[in-house]
């Protein structure tokens, strides 16, 4: 009797042990957890944590900082609360208004021009068959250039003495003599817009081409039967169906253009004079040349307000179900 009971107990112990060991195995442990109702939240958790630590906290403290004076060069002054003082300062700051105007010029120019070139390129790419992959790679290349490399490349191309652009323009007779693109206030913005066009148009080409390829070919066939010419087909089919994609890409591009000071840091440094002084560059410079972190945060917060307007447009476009459906 007692032997039997002993064997029974041993069996129980063994099965318990094996079950316990199995649970300790991390792989089967994860398998067990994945059957509970907490699984979905568990998978979300890391992303959510990281986002709140590295994104929300900085944004909120950036806005918070805009109500404080904080200059790294005056560590004894600390971070006193000054309320809206820096916003008042901003309104009376002529450089802010110049930068706002330049941001507007650059924002509009650097979206409209790439959009037009991007549309033309996408239409052409969509039309050709042979060599499409090759040309698409070529056309998308500028977008993947590091901004540093792109900036310096164009600085060399547009150099007043050594630049090939000047040489070519003189050769074909468009210029009488070499032009100092980045020294002349009248042409600096043009030069920067040119570089922006080069870097910016592939993004539009990419999105518009994807949009064009999702338009059912039956629509064009039907239009052909009705005797529509290509221009009419473009006006009546392609363009209307692309409107949501155009709006989305314009919004995304506008936000990117407003936010990025890279080209200005590398090409112009905001000059000559303040002809290319944009808000992103102003905020960047205030923070890291003057170390006036409080004021830089104020400028950035104003930029956030400007960008928010575009985000609202973006959301409107994405939320509109009719346009959404017609796009895909």
């Amino acid at each position: 009797m007692s032997q039997l009971a002993n064997a029974d107990a041993r069996n129980k112990l063994q099965s318990f042990l094996s079950l316990y060991l199995q649970k300790l195995n991390p792989f089967s442990l994860i398998g067990h957890i994945s059957e509970t109702k907490y699984w979905a939240y568990l998978m979300i958790l890391p992303g959510l944590l990281l986002v709140s630590v590295v994104i929300f906290y900085p944004v909120v403290s950036g806005i918070w900082l805009s109500f404080h004076k904080y200059n790294l060069l005056r560590p004894k002054a600390g971070q006193p609360w000054v309320g809206l003082e820096q916003y008042q300062e901003l309104i009376n700051d002529p450089i802010f208004w110049i930068s706002l105007k330049n941001t507007f010029i650059f924002g509009v120019g650097n979206v409209i021009l790439p959009l037009m070139l991007g549309m033309i390129a996408a239409l052409a790419l969509n039309h050709i068959n042979r060599g499409r992959a090759l040309f698409r790679t070529m056309l998308l290349m500028p977008w993947f250039m590091p901004s540093v490399v792109a900036g310096h490349m164009w600085a060399l191309l547009l150099d007043s003495r050594l630049g090939v652009v000047n040489d070519l323009l003189v050769r074909i007779g468009l210029l009488d003599s070499y032009h100092a693109w980045f020294a002349d206030p009248n042409t600096t913005m043009i030069a920067v817009l040119m570089v922006g066009l080069w870097r910016g148009f592939p993004f539009f080409t990419l999105l518009l081409l994807a949009g064009m390829q999702s338009i059912p070919t039956e629509l064009y066939e039907a239009a052909s039967v009705d005797g529509a010419n290509p221009w009419l087909k473009y006006r009546a089919i392609t363009l209307p169906l692309l409107i949501p994609i155009i709006l989305v890409s314009v919004t995304l591009r506008t936000i990117a253009v407003i936010n990025s000071p890279d080209l200005f840091i590398i090409l112009t440094g905001g000059g000559p004079g303040r002809t290319t002084h944009v808000l992103s560059f102003y905020a960047f410079n205030t923070a890291f040349s003057e170390f006036n972190f409080g004021y830089a945060a104020t400028i950035s917060t104003i930029m956030l307000l400007i960008v928010t307007i575009f985000i609202v447009i973006y959301m409107r476009v994405l939320r509109n179900p009719n346009q959404q459906r017609s796009a895909t």
Binding site: P46, V51, L139, H152, L156, N259
Partner: protein, 280 residues
């Protein structure tokens, strides 16, 4: 005009546009390459040399000697690997949950991830600087990788979610009936199927973090922690006569990995990007 001639006309027109825009895109890169093969006296000449008369690789070897090449390249590579790892691991779990499970707050979370990538990076610059300084992560690779995560994680989540949405849910249900756990389904069914999409995401994140300039410029101040783009930029700084040949050689070197990556994963990158941007 007959139908065939109009067709031919449009073909000619399309190819003309593609060739002109193609030249516009490629010319600066080609020119940079040509310049990198010139000696400095051939760059600074009265008459411009289109094809270098004495092609030389001197610039490349001089670049090797002048910049702490290995440190800069190594830093960029390590930061890129760290950023990609963080973004892929955390991005895939989050993307999977968003793609497959319905739970309260899901729509809101997706919106948040969408909006985050539009925040002005300049606004985060100052607070991130202060945070990194307090954590002692200025001049550190981990610090920069964490910073890059701020703007690359949301993109990864959206891209990977797009690829996961395309995998039919029936496959998972079949595996579940066969007794696989939810985690088992992810490892055995989903990951292999999503691998190309995840790879494309990895390539895109690599390019973005390899190219990043503004944060790297601000958050590093010594050569041990600087990245390749910053090193390249500082090569120019403070010199009266710009070393164009050197700079061009540096540009070409930094572009080679990107071109290889891009050509390899072009199609899936394009698909992932367009899905992410246009779908709500």
């Amino acid at each position: 005009m007959s139908h065939r001639t109009t067709q031919r006309l449009y073909n000619v027109l399309a190819y003309t546009v593609v060739v002109i825009v193609g030249i516009f895109s490629a010319f600066p890169i080609v020119w940079t390459f040509l310049t990198s093969l010139k000696r400095n006296e051939d760059v600074v000449t009265k008459t411009l040399q289109y094809i270098p008369t004495n092609p030389t690789l001197e610039n490349y070897s001089e670049l090797w000697g002048r910049m702490s090449f290995i440190t800069l390249f190594g830093n960029s590579a390590i930061i890129t690997v760290m950023t990609v790892s963080i973004c892929l691991v955390i991005g895939s779990t989050t993307a999977y949950a968003l793609s497959r499970y319905r739970f309260p707050g899901r729509g809101g979370m997706m919106m948040v991830f969408l909006l985050i990538r539009m925040f002005p990076m300049v606004l985060m610059l100052v607070p991130l600087f202060i945070i990194l300084r307090n954590l002692g992560l200025l001049n550190s690779r981990l610090g920069l990788a964490l910073v890059y995560t701020t703007f690359l994680l949301p993109i990864s989540i959206w891209m990977i979610k797009g690829f996961l949405d395309a995998i039919p849910i029936d496959l998972e249900e079949a595996a579940r009936i066969d007794g696989a756990s939810r985690a088992g389904v992810i490892v055995r069914i989903i990951l292999p199927l999503a691998a190309p999409g995840i790879a494309a995401t990895a390539v895109l994140i690599s390019i973005a973090s390899w190219n990043e300039f503004m944060f790297a410029l601000m958050f590093t101040s010594n050569e041990q922690s600087q990245t390749w783009p910053v090193g390249l930029h500082l090569l120019v700084g403070g010199e009266f006569n710009l070393p164009w040949g050197l700079l061009s050689a540096g540009g070409i070197i930094s572009v080679i990995p990107i071109i290889i990556f891009f050509v390899l994963a072009q199609n899936s990158i394009v698909r992932g990007l367009t899905q992410g941007a246009v779908k709500g």
